[in-house]
Symmetry: C2
Subunit: 560 residues, 2 copies
């Protein structure tokens, strides 16, 4: 009887494996492979800062290394470990990260004739060369198919499938013409493992399809040809060579093929799950369920929850993705996020913190955190907006920027750092409030990612502002863990809820809101919301002349 699964997590700069005991949750092996190509795995173009591509060969080279490495670690850690006890493999990747492929499903970038053409490589999610195409898709959809936009928060992004493919056609028609089809990275890798990458055979995951390719069963799958032709007849033609049906990740994409079974040292035929995006599988690895919001707290954040399909769920304005089955079968996956969180703190420490706090960014953070932890909410009199990188949810507007107000001649760097932390927490609360307004209730927040693990001060501020207990997932690799869970479940031998119960653990420390702080933060959040709406919404009207005075009043009241 098998009792292990392997999750493979393909990130922007590296990929990693996780071999997990499905009964105890013990993590027996995990290996990281840094992509050797480009700058930290990203192929760039000195003439255009928007270009971000990847070399598909890196994925294949990494695949072998991380799986065999994890197996070797497991054997060392548990001498009686047998690879034959691995029942399945799951894969998550970044996205939307489409790959142009030929009729056999081989990425064009692996073919000698395209080896030096960036446009034939993998189009990484953060490639923004297609911002004009994205704007035109938004425009056309608003005009012809508003329902498409409603499902993705109102604005189609240059980070997504159709923008990138269309831009390839506009920028390099030869590559577009040579591409028989396009495949998401998260669908291509499972196909590789099953040994059949023919575009018609590849199982397509509903997570990537629904979030980025405007796939929805309501309107018959991918956008209709009439709409695509209105963008470009070439896209309408392409639709015939894509797919009609997308499936959830508890589905078996196929069995591990002989060739890869041999390379990886795993049994032939074990289940390979349909792939999905990292955040979505990460949410499963963190134990997402109805009422639990999983926050992946990193340089930016991804906020994911689920709502059972048995309950009616309206479109939630400004929430960029609601997709049936994108996280769990039988539930709408609801995805939101903040464009910058950790990135704002990193920007601040690198650019605006004097060395009196310490010589290195790490020392500066530590010294500031010690000082700001001693402050009461409202004590600095500061208020910030968390828009240094735009606002993903709920305004869906990249053309917004940061704001700080309340500074006097005595304001210190650590006070501003606290205001920035608070601003990101207010941004997070804005997302939760929007979900709740539309009937998705959030009882607890489960956190994962670097900040959740490392920054206790931040976590307490978040608990006080979000007004909910904050837990932290035990695993450091929730994405890979989620992928492993799907690998196991797709085998048909175990049920998802059972595996989640067994392997998704939380750390002992739970951050409980402090009542006194909650009261002050409620006042501050009202001010945040006013400034947020004033600068972020075209239909806002109101007053702002009370904002600075109210902050001074709160500061005074807190001091007393």
């Amino acid at each position: 009887m098998g009792k292990y699964a392997i999750g493979l997590d393909y990130g922007t700069n590296s990929c990693r494996s996780l071999l997990v005991d499905l009964e105890t949750g013990e993590e027996l092996g995990s290996v990281v492979f840094d992509y050797p190509s480009g700058e930290l795995g990203v192929l760039t173009d000195s003439k255009d800062p928007h270009v971000a591509r990847q070399n598909p060969q890196d994925y294949l080279d990494g695949l072998e290394k991380i799986v065999t490495g994890a197996i070797a670690q497991a054997k060392e850690k548990r001498p009686d470990f047998q690879p034959s006890e691995v029942i399945g493999l799951g894969v998550d990747t970044t996205g939307s990260t489409p790959i142009p492929v030929d009729k056999s499903g081989t990425p064009l970038g692996l073919k000698p004739e395209f080896a030096n053409n960036l446009n034939a490589m993998v189009w990484l999610w953060k490639d923004h060369t297609s911002h004009e195409e994205a704007a035109r898709i938004t425009e056309k959809a608003a005009e012809l198919r508003p329902q498409f936009l409603a499902k993705c928060g109102g604005t189609y992004s240059s980070e997504w499938w159709w923008s990138k493919i269309w831009h390839c056609k506009n920028a390099d028609p030869a590559v577009f013409d040579a591409a028989y089809s396009w495949v998401e990275h998260c669908d291509w890798l499972p196909a590789v493992l099953t040994g059949d990458t023919k575009p018609e055979s590849i199982a397509r995951g509903v997570c990537s399809a629904g979030h980025k390719a405007m796939y929805c069963e309501e309107w018959g799958g991918l956008p209709d040809k009439e709409f695509l032709a209105a963008l470009d007849p070439g896209l309408a033609d392409l639709r015939d060579r894509l797919y009609d049906k997308a499936v959830t990740s508890d589905t078996r994409a196929g069995g591990l093929c002989a060739e890869w079974a041999e390379k990886l040292g795993l049994p032939e035929g074990i289940a390979v799950a349909v792939g999905a995006f990292d955040a979505h599988m990460g949410a499963v690895g963190a134990g997402v369920k109805e009422g639990t919001l999983v926050k992946i707290l990193g340089t930016s954040t991804c906020d994911i929850t689920v709502s059972p399909t048995s309950k009616e769920l309206a479109d939630i304005p400004g929430v960029c993705g609601i997709v049936d089955g994108s996280v769990l079968s039988g539930a709408y996956g609801i995805e939101a996020g903040q464009s910058a969180v950790g990135d704002i703190f990193l920007w601040f420490v690198h650019n605006l913190v004097p060395d009196s706090y310490g010589a290195t960014p790490g020392e500066k953070f530590a010294a500031m955190e010690e000082k700001l932890a001693a402050l009461k909410p409202g004590e600095s009199g500061l208020l910030a907006l968390d828009w240094n990188n735009g606002n993903r949810t709920v305004l869906v507007d990249v053309r917004l920027t940061g704001l700080l107000l309340g500074q006097t001649l005595h304001t210190k760097a650590h006070e501003i750092y606290r205001a920035l932390i608070e601003a990101t927490a207010f941004g997070a609360l804005t997302i939760i409030n929007r979900m709740e307004e539309y009937g998705v209730h959030i009882m607890e927040v489960m956190n994962t990612g670097g900040l959740a693990v490392k920054n206790e001060t931040l976590m307490q501020i978040y608990a006080d502002i979000l007004g909910r207990p904050l837990k932290v997932a035990a695993s450091d690799q929730t994405c890979a863990l989620g992928a492993a869970i799907f690998g196991a479940v797709s085998s048909g031998q175990v049920a998802l809820e059972d595996v989640q119960t067994a392997v998704c653990k939380t750390r002992e420390k739970v951050y409980q809101p402090i009542l006194e702080n909650q009261g002050i933060y409620a006042d501050l959040f009202e001010l945040y919301s006013t400034v947020h709406d004033a600068f972020g919404k075209a239909d806002w009207s109101g007053k702002l002349n009370h904002v600075m005075k109210r902050l001074l009043d709160i500061r005074k009241q807190v001091h007393e």
Copy 2:
């Protein structure tokens, strides 16, 4: 025939002299005396940060040192210099800086029984213990005598005469009762020099009376007893022991008495001019005239111009002082200012500039100025409000704070420094625009103070934003020079215009606005004004959602 005069400038931390040749403007002697008492000359109270007093003995000790020192320097520099050729002395001081005195005009603080009582000392302008009294005066005046408020910008301040005296009565009735009268520092020192300090004899300057004691001929001098009684009957009683008439500084307060002539080494009987505040005499020393705005650019700024009394002049809302004769006879003196300018830059460099710019504040400023001078207007995408210390003109509101917006994940410290410089310039333009709206036209701006002399980058940005040629006064001591001019003029031997023409020179470098920059700054000023009004005015209504986007557009346009 005499041809010299001496100006005495009493500041917050020190006093200084200037001995000037009235025909050539040559400065022959200047000595600084640091007040020995308290912290840098200010008596403070560790239990109350609002307390700021001075020891009157410091004034007397300094008086002898700085005059004899200047004479000694003049003799060395010009061997044929004769003290008998000095025709007058003028004095300027900070203000409102009232002194409680006994019947003989002796400051209570000089009397043994009060030697250890801070309340018997000189109440320095920046003492803010009387903020509650100030608020009550504003309230009562709004109710009973709105015309009083109209002349001082709408809000009575804790930096001013009546607030301080009333607070003394409330906080320490024994001192109030022991004070036969109160005298402004700038009136008391000339009285000392004339040898008659009896309160009834002291010549009171209209500058301090009009600006701080709500003196105006329109309503018969000081506020009427009925109004004062509504505040406190004790203040109404005091009015009888103050003064009925205040005069301009071209008036002779008296002749130098034998005792002080002896101590200073000057001829007995030479003219001592009626005193005034430093900024007002500084404006005269910088060559203020109709159409010329003098800006004293320091930690805060003082903006002064004049408008001939022959022209009708309405109250200018938000401009804190319009007083007939406060600067020049026959003209309304118009005073405005910004609560913090250099102080904002100092706050920034001390608290938010990393050491990668340099090890010391001086190095950091220099490195940032080099980098920011290479930026184009609008290139940073930033916009700031200059309210870190409130807004003196035109909003007259201390309960306002700083604001910065437009920051991204790439914003650098020197870009923010530039935005702060621009914000102070936009604040300065707001003042000029308000004056012009009310018929006071400003053709050129004459600058003095540390920033004007030292910071060429700032001056060019100011010229571009203010849209006028910016000159810099040649003298480093425009306040003392103005005091010397009044010393000379009060002798009756020379005319003010003639002396100004002879001694008020400008530096060679004139900052001319650059047309291309002016255009961009006009756009940025529109955004500044919108945000300024939104956060500063109760009656504002409008939109702000275009602000960040417009800044991004301007940034893009500038980059192209």
